[in-house]
């Protein structure tokens, strides 16, 4: 227990990195996932095909492989550099991996939401002269996203925990920091583990409560 108290600043710092990974890749995933969903319902077969291909490849590849590819493939082989600072560089490379992966799931959830919006809504929008993109942006997506707030919350919850995979390319988030603390405090493995586990619960539990409440409040009445 002393080890946990002594190392508290380090542990909090690690969780701060976890939060940053979650927030940044969560936002990118939301935007890119909605764009992918738009592609998958677009009238252009090329876009539909590209969207379907992307989602099916990324959704069915283990996240660890994607993150390692980002670290070694993008970072080392293709020499994609975001910063001279090595840790900052792997932070952004893991953001790419996490976003690429999570956005595929966001796409499918949003697409399910789009399917709950009655066809008549799109017909009415087209009938007043809105273009395809306006129809999507002003009429379909606002209703679709509101119906899938709860499942989007679950994805965010999963993302919080998935950020630990960034440890594979050396990002000092909670999981990698926990391993290092195990090495330094071999006599306090259980307390340290419990401390980190509690940290994740503190992050994810409010998310679930919040998304549930938001889903009820923003529900579209028909």
């Amino acid at each position: 227990m002393e080890a946990v108290v002594d190392e508290l600043p380090v542990i909090l710092g690690a969780f701060w990195l976890t939060v940053k990974l979650t927030v940044v890749s969560g936002l990118i995933s939301l935007v890119w996932g909605i764009a992918l969903a738009a592609m998958r319902v677009s009238p252009l077969p090329v876009l539909r095909g590209a969207g379907a291909l992307y989602v099916n490849v990324l959704r069915n590849t283990p996240l660890t492989l994607i993150i390692v590819f980002c670290g070694l493939g993008l970072g080392t082989v293709m020499d994609v550099q975001f910063s001279d600072d090595l840790s900052l560089n792997s932070f952004w490379l893991s953001i790419i991996g996490l976003s690429a992966y999570t956005s595929a799931f966001v796409c499918e959830v949003v697409r399910a939401g789009i399917n709950t919006v009655p066809l008549g809504q799109a017909e009415a929008a087209r009938a007043i002269g809105l273009t395809f993109l306006q129809t999507l942006r002003l009429v379909i997506l606002p209703q679709a996203v509101r119906t899938v707030i709860a499942p989007l919350g679950s994805l965010l919850n999963a993302l919080v925990k998935n950020t630990t995979v960034a440890a594979a390319i050396g990002v000092m988030e909670a999981a990698l920091r926990m391993k290092n603390l195990f090495d330094a405090h071999g006599d306090a493995i259980i307390p340290i583990f419990l401390g980190f586990a509690a940290g994740f619960v503190v992050l994810t539990l409010p998310l679930n409560l919040l998304s549930g409440r938001l889903a009820r409040r923003l529900a579209v009445v028909r």
Binding site: P43, P118, G120, Q121, E123, A124, A125, R126, A127, I128, G129, L130, T131, Q134, L138, V139, P142, Q143, R146, V220, V221, R222
Partner: protein
Amino acid sequence: MTEISGSDPLVRLEGVNKHFGPLHVLKDIGLSVARGEVVVVIGPSGSGKSTLCRVLNRLETIDSGSIVFDGRELPAEGRALARLRSEVGMVFQSFNLFAHKTILENVTLGPTRVRKIPRQQAEQRGMELLERVGIASQAAKYPAQLSGGQQQRTAIARALAMDPKMILFDEPTSALDPEMVQEVLDVMVGLAKDGMTMMVVTHEMGFARRAANRIVFMADGQIVEEGSPSEFFTKPSTERARDFLSKILTH
């Protein structure tokens, strides 16, 4: 009734055919609608009336034939099609009000986003239109909070907000409780009196008699008979129309 300017029709359909899979829903349709004319389309279910209405703003595509609106062939897609649709109002059987927007927002969405009219001006006009259809007091509510009749009147105001050259009505009262039918029909009669060009698919024979310049009777995807309301209802010339009228007018 308003006088109808003769020579240059607003809409002209020629040789229009449409299939849904093996079903031939529109068979070689030819029809013109003059400016200011109110055409009421009647006929048994499955006769292609709604499809006829929907091909006019290309919510359904056609397989062959031509549709000319206001002197130009109906555009196939893109911005030109969106522009055409903004000039042709549509009122649906199931209202289709935007569920996440208030009544006033439903009416101002088109003007602000398609016509780029400033919000304040669009809202002022929107309130005038809601006043005209008798629901200005409901402007801040959401569609689900209104009765069917009020929703359909909102849908009419939404169509009017685009200053359309024509409004299509696809069975506008069929989803309404009986006591709400009249309030919607009254608004439509008012529009007809003001000279709006209308095509109305309906089962309301009272409205057809009162407001129509011309009745088009469809059966099995074809226009079987057309004529003035008085001719059509008193002495229909085809067996098919007589049969239809005898079924709906006996009660």
